[in-house]
Each structure stands twice: as C-alpha cells, then as structure tokens.
Amino acid sequence: MRAEEGQKRRLMKQAFEARRRFRARHRTYRGETSPLKHVGVPEGLYEKCKRCGERFVKDDILENKMVCPSCDSHFRLRAIDRLNMTVDEGTFIEKGLGYISLNPLFQEDYEQKLAENRERTGADEAFIYGYGEIKGIPCVLGVLDSHFMMGSMGSVVGEKVVKSVEYALVRRLPLVLFIASGGARMQEGIYSLMQMAKTAGAIQKLNQQDLLYISILTHPTTGGVSASFASLGDIILAEPEALIGFAGPRVIKQTIKQELPEGFQSAEFLLEKGMLDKIVHRHAMKDTLYRLLYLHEKGARL
C-alpha cells in the first residue's frame, strides 16, 4: 500500500513537471519579453551576526539592543543608539557642540576622511557628551562612537572628554563614559598622544573632588584610550566579549614570539585577572548603572 502511494505522488510530480515544461515552451508573453531583473536586498535591511552567521532584520536587532537573538553576541552600537537605550527619554542635553578637527600635521586625505565620516555618521566627531538622566538620576554621559574613525582620540575627542569631566565638576554630577575606541588618532600624531595625559589629568581632578566616574568598556577598547581615561574609572564595567587591551594580539604575538593564552584581551579574561569590576549584559546595563548611581548618591541607603 505504501509503495503504491509513493508511486501516485511521483506520478503527480512528473505530470506537473511535464506541464511546466510544456508551458515554458509555449509561453506567450503579453508584451515585450524582458530579461529577469536582478532584485537585491537593499543595503542595511539585514544584519548578519559575525559570530554565528545568522541574519536578522535590522529593526528587530535594534529592538533587541543590537544583541544577536541567537548567540547573544553584542554588536557595535552607534552613539545615538547607545544614548537612546541608556538615558531616560527626552532628558539628554548635548553639550560641547561645534568642535571640528583640523589637520595639524597636514596629513594627506585626513580632511577628506573626516568629511566622509561626518557625512556617514551625521556626527561632528567620535565623542558625544551631555547631561542626561538614568531612571531619574542626573549624570554626565559620554559616548565614544567606533563608527567615526574607529572612535580614535584626536585633539577634539580629548578636549571633549576633558570638557565632559569639567562639566561634571561644575555641576557636581557623576560621570558615565561608554568607551569604544581604536586608540589615539594616528593622523594627529603627537597631538593625539598628548590627549592621554590631558584626559588622565582631568580624571584626577574628578577624583580629588570625590565625584563618581563609571567607565564602561565596550568592544573594542584599545590603544591610547584604554591606556588613559578608560581604565581610570572608579568602577569599570565591560560588555561581554569586548576586546580590551593596548596593542592588538597579532602585534604582541609577533613581538614576544609566544603563544597567547586563550581569550586573551577579552572582557572575561580581564575580569578573571582583576582588571574589571563586572561584565554587564547590554540588556542589564541601564539597571546596573541606575543601581550604581543610586548607591553613590548623597544619603543613599541599601
């Protein structure tokens, strides 16, 4: 009985196949025949997870705070999205507007590159800061955007970081900085390196005034930024699997000619070695920041 049923299914398949061929041979087009138009998926409609390879509709991913629904991998965030998911709606007031990078070392293509980055991201520079509230608690919030020249620190980023610290000092507010940076900006050479000392010095002032500074290290936090203000937080948080380090693993390997431990420079590795206070999932970030800010408020009680 089973074999017979299969036979009938095959019969139907074959008949339909033959008729498709028949129709293809005798197809009459109503108008001009046109070659098949190649229809592509518009750019940016889908986001592919770099770790598990799954594809998702971008809007769905954004809804999930740019975290892969399948493998929990944290994607890179634009500064605007980071702010949207961190501060209370309508409370953010951007400060330090109007700073534009110049080309102090007359580097070829630097100005053009800056213009391109401004055009693409809609931001003036890689760092945004301002006043914001997290579940009602006021603070100064700064975000480094790795989409703008890899969040690298030149004179403007350094200056704006210092301005954010000074704003926190004046308003006597806690400072929360989200870091994502490739390090000092090569195109500005020594001016970039100078920003390391300058920002570290500013944080020192914050310390002296007993103001809270929370730095959140996200993927990637490297180079001159990790070697300066990023690592000076009173509390240092990180996102899961964020790359945190100074030089990249390949450079180190070539220099010391040794195998590097597994997971070297990952947030998890650094936590184990005592370099971080906590790894916080992006979904829990706002709550965690709120709790920390609340506990450090004047007269706070557990």
Partner: protein, 454 residues
C-alpha cells in the same frame, strides 16, 4: 408543490449533475444503471438505484418499459432525462404522461414538433424566425437536385430525424449529389430508423451560437443569453463559451427570435434554440428540447441553476425571476474532457482511473463521473467530464482554463487517454485567443493542435 422523488433516466456526468441538484433541493433521487454501470458514481450518489438492463444502451438507458417500471416501483413522481438517450424522445414522454409521471422537460407534443426538423422549420418560418434557405420538407432525389441547383452549392443533406452529425452530407458539385444523397439516406435509416432527408444551403464555417430559453407553464418565457459553441470537430462540440463575442445588436435580435420560437410552439421548461451566424445574419438550425451538455457556462455567468429551474418548472411553479433580473457577469468557458486519443482520430480510449487530481480554486468547476479506481465504460459516450472556468473577461477565462487543464490529472491503467493535451494546445492558439473562431476552426488547425509533446 415541489416533486419529492425523481428518477434520473441517464448516466455519467449529467446524472451526477441532476442528482446533486436534487439533493440540494431535498428531492429524493433514483438512479438507473446498466449491468456494466453498477459501480458508476451516479449509482452511488443516488438514494436508490435500479438496474434496467444490459450494458448496451438499447437494452438499458433506452429501454422505456424498464425505466418506467423502475420509476413506478420506487414511487417516483418525475423523470429527469438529462441529455441524450430518451431526452428528446416524444414517445417516451407520452408514455410518462400516460402513467402519470411528470417529465422534466417540455410536452410530448412540443418535443415531437421540434424533433422533426421539417415540422420545426415550418413552425419557425411561421413564427418569423430566419431559416437557412432550403427545402421545407423531406425531399426525394430529383426534387432535391433541382432545389440544390436553385439555392446554389454547396448544399447540405441532413437526416430529418438525426442529430450529432449522423446522416449528414455536404455536396459541393452537382455531380456528387446523387451518391451523397443515397449515403445520407442509408445512414439515417441505420441510425434513426427513418430515412427521410432534407436539404439546405450549406453555410461554410459559420459560428454556432445558441440561446438558452426558460419557460414556465404560465406563459412566461425568458432567455439566459447565448453560448458560442463554434469550436467543434465533426459537429461534436469541444469548447463552449458564454457570452459570444458578437455585436450586441445581433445578439438582441437572436434573443428576440429565440423567445419568439419558444412562445410560438408553446414551449415549457429549459430549451435551446440553435443558430448559425455568418456575418450579420443568423439562421435557425434546430431547437434542443432538453438540458444541454454546455449548460454550465450559462450558469457560470448568470448565476442561475438550470437544473433546479427545470425541476421547479416541472413541479408547476412559475419562474422566480423575470428578464430584467437576468444579468451576465464575466466570461465562462467549458472544455469537454473525453477519454479518447486525439492522435488516433480521436478514437475512444477508456480504462480504469488509477489516479485523479482535479483543478480547484476560484472560478473553476469540474462536473464529472470520475473517481479514483472507477472505470470509464467503453459502451457509452467518451465524455468523462466537463471543466468549466469563469473569468472576468475572455482572456482571463482562457488563462484560467489553461492553468486548470495543466493541473488536471486523469491517469489510468492501460489504454486510458484523454484529450487534455489537445485542449491545452487549443487554449494556446493565437486565433482562438483573438476570437477568430468558427465551426471549421479545429479542422483548419488540426495539425497544430495535435503537435503537443506526449
């Protein structure tokens, strides 16, 4: 008062069609069957079934005495004859009337009048319905020859008792007249038991247009539009459509003539007035005093259930709607699915159905006697089903028919073949799509229509 129990004096798809209509009206049905047909669909569907004779139709479906006793023994009030068999047999109708059974159709008198072609033509002439020029009555050889010369060749010799293309001859030259005349007579004698023939002008490749009529017993007669049955092969219809793509003024004149024809003879129940159309003129050819095979195309565009109306009229009810209420929506096409091999001169190719897949979806209807593992009998007509589609317009209907035919699978063991690929090919022809159709269409394009890959 509606009839409560009906004997369906037919087999195959039309018996199934009538039984379904009865079931929908809560009328009990009795099927009749021949010894070969015990497992036919209509036998299974009916409330009761009576075997009326052997496999040959002569002893069963044409056996009046047996059918009448079956009806009386099962307590039927009416007999629905379907089409073919006894549907236009006035003797049978008279018998029904004499034993008190309602015959679903016109009276014996009307059937007799319209069934005899020369009487019918006389009546139509009197009613002012245009006729093909020719002899009004049966003619003998010499008389016929003279008349043929006066109306001009080609002429057609037709059996006055016939139908379905038998006893029919076309004569193009006067020299051929005698032999053709004798052959027609002989054929008519053999087929219908009556050798009378008549003569008329042969209209070469006309369109075959017929008007559907409904008339009740209270003098209300209306038409349900026309059908174009021009796609024929040897006078056997293959494709039927409604409406016909013809000028409205011409169609109006035909409707009017058809109603005049029906009222003039006191017609009741459903009937069809057939015309041939050449250019702007039309000629009456015959009236079918019964349900037509192609009635579903009219149903598809008017929404009227013709079998139900037949049963209502036969039950003595008056028409439930008037002419104004009849509207035509869209375009319908019917394709007759025959168990035959088109490549071998359309010889019947019956067999057992091992696998059946029917097209479905909006605007598709399949009236059929088929079921999986059922037999197609070699003893009767090779038509096994009718595929009817309805579309917004003709092009849409053709496209739907094409795709429905693509989906239809009637697979059988051994010799079973159908004309499905032939019909599929027909739907593809540019001339068909462009409405360049007449009764010569299939002959003209036969080679192309058979050029499908099997």
């Amino acid at each position: 008062m509606m009839v409560k129990k009906v004997l369906v004096a037919n087999r195959g798809e039309v018996a199934v069609r009538i039984i379904r209509a009865c079931r929908a009206m809560e009328i009990e049905t009795v099927a009749i069957y021949s010894a070969a047909d015990a497992d036919e669909l209509h036998v299974h569907l009916a409330d009761d079934a009576v075997c009326v004779g052997g496999a040959a139709a002569q002893g069963s479906y044409l056996n009046m005495e047996n059918i009448l006793s079956a009806a009386l023994n099962t307590g039927c009030e009416a007999i629905h004859p379907g089409y073919g068999f006894l549907s236009e047999n006035s003797r049978f109708v008279k018998l029904c009337e004499s034993v008190g059974l309602t015959f679903v159709g016109p009276s014996a008198e009307v059937i007799a009048k319209m069934g005899d072609k020369s009487t019918a033509k006389k009546l139509m002439k009197a009613a002012g319905v245009p006729l093909v020029p020719g002899s009004a009555e049966e003619v003998e050889l010499e008389e016929g020859k003279q008349l043929a010369e006066s109306i001009g060749f080609p002429v057609l010799i037709k059996a006055s008792a016939g139908g379905g293309g038998r006893g029919m001859r076309i004569v193009r030259k006067v020299e051929d007249f005698e032999s053709a005349f004798q052959a027609a007579r002989y054929e008519a004698e053999a087929a219908f038991g009556h050798g009378g023939v008549y003569l008329e002008k042969y209209v070469e490749n006309p369109r075959h247009i017929e008007v559907q009529i409904l008339a009740d017993e209270y003098g209300n007669t209306l038409h349900l539009g026309e059908r174009d049955c021009s796609i024929q092969r040897r006078n056997q219809k293959i494709i039927e459509e409604a409406p016909a793509i013809l000028p409205d003024a011409l169609k109006e004149r035909m409707y009017e003539a058809a109603i005049r024809a029906a009222t003039h003879v006191g017609y009741t129940n459903a009937g069809t007035v057939e015309f041939i159309v050449e250019g702007e003129s039309f000629y009456f050819i015959e009236m079918n005093t019964r349900l037509q095979v192609e009635h579903p195309v009219t149903e598809a565009i008017t929404g009227v259930d013709l079998v139900r109306e037949q049963l209502r009229i036969a039950s003595g009810e008056s028409l439930a709607f008037d002419q104004e209420a009849v509207t035509f929506n869209g375009h319908a096409i019917e394709a007759r699915i025959n168990a035959e091999e088109p490549r071998e001169k359309f010889r019947p190719a019956p067999g057992r159905v091992s696998f059946l897949h029917l097209p479905q979806g909006p605007g598709i209807r399949f009236d059929s006697l088929l079921y999986t593992d059922g037999d197609i009998q070699p003893h009767y007509d090779s038509m096994v089903g009718k595929l009817i589609v309805r579309g917004d317009d003709r092009a849409d209907a053709i496209q739907r028919m094409s795709s429905a035919l693509d989906e239809l699978i009637i697979a059988g063991e051994g010799a079973l073949r159908t004309n499905r690929p032939f019909l599929s090919m027909l739907m593809l022809q540019r001339e068909f799509k462009d409405n360049e159709i007449d009764t010569g269409f299939v002959e003209r394009h036969l080679e192309r229509l058979l050029s499908y890959e099997s």
